[in-house]
Subunit: 299 residues, 2 copies
């Protein structure tokens, strides 16, 4: 069992997700609110320029720049590629990280509620999921987001030894909502409490299992040959993140009045439904399968 | 009674309000859907560059550039100031407009539902409000938005002889929601139907009165001496557009835990609560008073 000695709480990885930026500022003013006796905590404002310009990113999505090969590639020199190298220096290096646990604060325009994204398997993640959902039963857990070995993961939170994403919505880009702000703060506090209990071997009896979701694929909006969108997310799916989507259910409403149905073989669970930031790639939603995490059993 | 001979339907005045842009494209493909026997309709894509950059505007808010003095000022040369002059040439000139009626399609991140903004007093507006709310009882009517003579109005929709804003939310910037798209389309269709009935003297018996709201003032978020925000819209007000805010009600939640209460003398009705685009000016919400429009009685 590895002890967590150094934690990083990161805000503003995406510049127009205001909640993390404002939490970062509050934590800066009250550092004791994010530290605990058994570990120290550093605060990182990941993409200040994008926040200043009120954009997700300036040149490239910062949260896709943390694969080891990219961090070590001197030819990647855009603003975010450079920020990734600087952050890697600050909390990594990813190949042998100084920071033991990264909490990266994000928001979404999708109706995902308070979501905890576990990026890798492992005992600490299983117990964290059990602890957080015991304290905040409304929290949705997503595990194994990218299905990649840690070195190939492109997300900032994989730059520490361990790391998670706190993802809360719905909130428009560039907006602070009190409910989303408070939920993000609460989940962060529970994660920090967990790490303290983990370090001091004082974890309470945890639920034996945790219901979770596992990402399977992304669905694109219908487009024509010139990549013009032909439709939008159907109102039956809008706001229904993590509700079952059955084969044959309406999925897209085309502008010409036709409806495109979900044609998979199995019932799936959409997330990031109609997330504004994914429009760049015409992504409509992510699909997940339901899984169960056995808290006390190796993955 | 003036006959409406030429109508303009405008989308994309704000580049990141996608609904109007996609409706514009649909109407372009099916021009018959926005024309009627008694008038012709032109379509205007107001700010294509801002839409391409997925921003509200590039240099200046286009929807604040239509005061006659500004349109006639050759020293105002930014992208949006130039677009305003071009649009004025297309649908104005504002001092003697070619277009009789402008419908400008907007969305908001606030929970305002389907809102019809009447910018000036007059018989056509009173009857339009009565007709639209008879057809769509959920529609909220706001009147006399800027309290200015038409020449001084800065909004695009005042460039025609008459004009209204269709404002629907909540929808994040850069997102298409089916419900918001359909409501915007429906309200536009009812307005066009009204103009046809108005022109042909076939208006049905309308409700005698229409409940409406009249803008009184804007409230700013609490800030420190350096303009840093000290708080956010209180969760009691968030999403409660057009619900009463009484003297003494919580209004802002400060990050330090304190609550700022509404200290006005009268009950007011907030709108544009926590609208993302108004953050540039630290605006938190607009306040309105309740008014009643007498459909058949001069203002």
């Amino acid at each position: 069992m590895s002890k967590i000695e150094r934690v990083a709480v990161v805000g503003g990885t995406h510049g127009n997700e205001f909640t993390g930026v404002y939490l970062y500022r509050q934590y800066q003013q009250k550092p004791q609110s994010v530290s605990r006796d058994s570990f120290s905590t550093e605060l990182v404002f990941a993409n200040p320029r994008a926040h200043g310009e009120n954009k997700r990113y300036c040149d490239h999505d910062l949260n896709r720049q943390f694969a080891v090969a990219d961090l070590e590639n001197p030819e990647l020199t855009s603003y975010e590629q450079s920020r990734a190298k600087a952050i890697n220096q600050q909390i990594g290096p990813k190949t042998n990280p100084r920071i033991d646990f990264v909490i990266d604060l994000h928001t979404t325009t999708s109706n995902m509620g308070a979501t905890l994204l576990l990026l890798q398997p492992g005992e600490i993640y299983r117990k964290l999921a059990a602890y957080v959902t015991m304290k905040m039963p409304e929290v949705i857990v997503i595990r194994d987001l990218d299905h990649l070995p840690r070195e190939e993961h492109r997300l900032l939170a994989t730059t520490g030894k361990f790391g998670v994403i706190v993802e809360v919505g719905p909130v428009p880009q560039a907006v602070l909502r009190e409910d989303v702000y408070q939920q993000s703060h609460q989940m962060t506090q529970h994660i920090l409490d967990f790490l303290e209990l983990w370090n001091t071997d004082q974890l309470p009896q945890l639920p034996e299992t945790v219901d979770a979701y596992r990402y399977t694929e992304s669905l694109k909006l219908p487009v024509d040959a010139l990549d013009n969108r032909l439709g939008m997310v159907h109102s039956n799916v809008q706001d229904n993140d993590f509700q079952p989507l059955h084969p044959g259910d309406p999925m897209f409403q085309c502008f010409d009045g036709t409806v495109i149905k979900y044609e998979g073989d199995d019932t799936v669970y959409p997330g990031f439904v109609n997330e504004a930031a994914y429009y760049d790639n015409n992504l409509a939603m992510s699909l997940h399968e339901k899984v169960v995490i056995d808290t006390y059993q190796a993955d």
